[in-house]
Symmetry: C2
Subunit: 243 residues, 2 copies
DNA sequence: AAAACTTATAGTACTTTTTACTTTAAGAAT
DNA sequence: ATTCTTAAAGTAAAAAGTACTATAAGTTTT
C-alpha cells in the first residue's frame, strides 16, 4: 500500500503506478448566452468529427500544456465569435469517469454573455455549423453537455441577482425596457415597469445619455449605459446590486 | 497548423503532438471549515514531504484514474476527519500553468463544513500534523493555497446567504444564539438578537425540541434542530432562505 | 393638421419587511 | 429571598416593495 514514487507529496496510499495519475485530458467548454427578442439563447456548434459526429454541442477545446484555464476559455470564445473582451466566468468542473468516450477527460465549464448584435459566429475546420438556440428549445446534445448547460444556467441565474452583469447581454446603449426584458428572460419572472425602473435607477449604476431610441412607432425611450467605473468604486464599500 | 490526430474532435488547430494534451495531473483540494468559540476556522495539514516540506497546506490528493471528482473529495474528507456525510461543495478549479512545482497539475477546489465537536483529525503517512487555524490567523501556506482558501471563503459567504447550510457547522441540536454566532462569524456582521430569532423562526425550517441546554449559569435556551425534509419540500416551490 | 394610438415616465397609496428597542420570563448563583 | 444573566416575546417607527393611476411625448392614421 505505498506509492511507487515516494518523492510525490499527496496523501494517496494506494498501489497504482504513479504514471497513472498523469494521464488526464483537460478541456474547457463554454456556454455562450445571448439575448434576442425577449428570449435567452445559447450558441451551439454542430460537430464535424467523431465521437458524436453531427451532434450539437457547446464549443470547447483541449487546454494547451502551457495555457491557463481562463486563457483557454477566452481563446475558444474569441475564435468562435471574433469578439474581444467577452464577459466569462468559470462555474463548475465536470469530471465523471465515463463522461467522455475517448478517455478520462475532465472539462472546466465556463459561461459567457455576449451582446447579441455584435457576434458573427465563425465556423472552423472541426465545426459544421454554428447556431443560436432558444434556451427553452435546445436540440439533443453530445457528451454531458445538457448537464453543463443546465448547471451554467442555474449559476447565471444566481449571479445575475447580486451582480450587475445583465448589461453584458445588451448593446452599449440600451433602454430601461430592454434591460427589463433581459432580466425577465434570465429570471423567468415578470417585473412591474415603473417599479423596475425605479429600482434600477435608485442603484445609481446606469447613466442617462442625451439620446433616445429611433425608428419606433411611439414615444422613443431614453438611452442609458452602464457605468462600470461607478460600480467598481461602490463595490469596495458594499454590495449595491440586488434584484 | 493541423492536429496530429485527426480522429480527435476538439477545435484545436495547432501543431503540438496529441499526446501532449493528455499529460495533466489532477487533484482535489478541500478547504474544511469549522466553528468554535464564535470563530470560523480551517483544518490544515503540515506537509511531510517535498515540495513545500513542513509547510502548512489544505488537505488534498491526486484523483484516481477511476474516481469521480466528488468521490475524490469525499475520500480525502473521510480519510482525514473520520466522518461520514460531511457537507461539501465544489467551488472553483485552479489550473495556472505554474501553480505546481512538479508539473502541470490542476486542482478542483472543494470546501466543506464540519460540526466542530465530532471531528477527530487523523494524520497519515504524508502528514506531520493536522490542526485547526482561525480563519483570521492563518500560517504561511504552500502552493496557491492561500488563494484557494480566500476564494472558498468568498464562495461560502455567498452561498450561506441563500441556502441553509450554516447548520452544518453546529451539532444536531443547537440554540438560536449559537446559530446566530455561526452567521456572525461567517458573514462578519452583528445581528440583533430578537430580530435574528424572528427571521429564522419565520422561515419555518428549524423545529423546537422539548429540551433545553444544560450547565449554563442562566436561563437555559431551548434546543432546535434543522428540518431538512421540510426544506427540501419547500425548495421545490421557491427559495425560502435568505439572510 | 387634428385625432388616435402606443409606450415612456412620474407619481401616489398601500402593504410588507426590516430595524431598533423595550419588557417580561426563567433559571443559576449568592 | 435576592441578584444576576440570558431567553424570549412584544412594539413602534422606518424602509422597502408592490400595485396601480395619471400625464407626457412621440408616431401613425384620418
Amino acid at each position: 500500500m505505498h506509492r511507487k514514487n515516494p518523492d510525490f507529496y499527496f496523501l494517496s496510499e494506494n498501489n497504482l503506478p504513479f504514471s497513472d495519475f498523469l494521464h488526464f485530458g483537460l478541456s474547457t467548454d463554454c456556454v455562450i448566452f445571448g439575448y434576442k427578442n425577449k428570449a435567452l439563447r445559447v450558441l451551439l456548434i454542430q460537430r464535424g468529427a467523431e465521437p458524436y459526429m453531427n451532434s450539437w454541442a457547446i464549443p470547447g477545446d483541449l487546454v494547451y500544456p502551457d495555457e491557463d484555464l481562463d486563457s483557454s476559455a477566452n481563446r475558444i470564445l474569441q475564435h468562435l465569435t471574433g469578439l474581444e473582451n467577452i464577459y466569462f466566468e468559470q462555474f463548475h468542473t465536470f469530471g465523471s469517469v465515463d463522461r467522455h468516450p475517448v478517455g478520462r477527460v475532465i472539462t472546466v465549464g465556463y459561461y459567457s454573455l455576449v451582446r447579441s448584435d455584435n457576434h458573427k459566429p465563425i465556423a472552423s475546420t472541426w465545426v459544421k455549423e454554428v447556431k443560436w438556440f432558444d434556451i427553452n428549445d435546445l436540440p439533443a446534445l453530445g457528451f454531458d453537455h445538457e448537464e453543463i448547460i443546465h448547471k451554467a444556467l442555474l449559476n447565471l441565474r444566481k449571479k445575475v441577482r447580486t451582480e450587475p452583469i445583465g448589461f453584458e447581454l445588451l448593446p452599449e446603449k440600451f433602454t430601461l425596457l430592454e434591460l427589463q426584458g433581459v432580466y425577465e428572460a434570465l429570471l423567468q419572472q415578470q417585473f412591474d415597469k415603473p417599479n423596475f425602473r425605479k429600482k434600477i435607477l435608485s442603484m445609481d449604476l446606469i447613466t442617462p445619455l442625451n439620446e433616445v431610441e429611433s425608428n419606433v412607432a411611439h414615444r422613443p425611450a431614453k438611452l442609458f449605459n452602464f457605468d462600470k467605473k461607478r460600480y467598481d468604486a461602490k463595490k469596495n464599500n458594499e454590495i449595491s446590486f440586488e434584484l
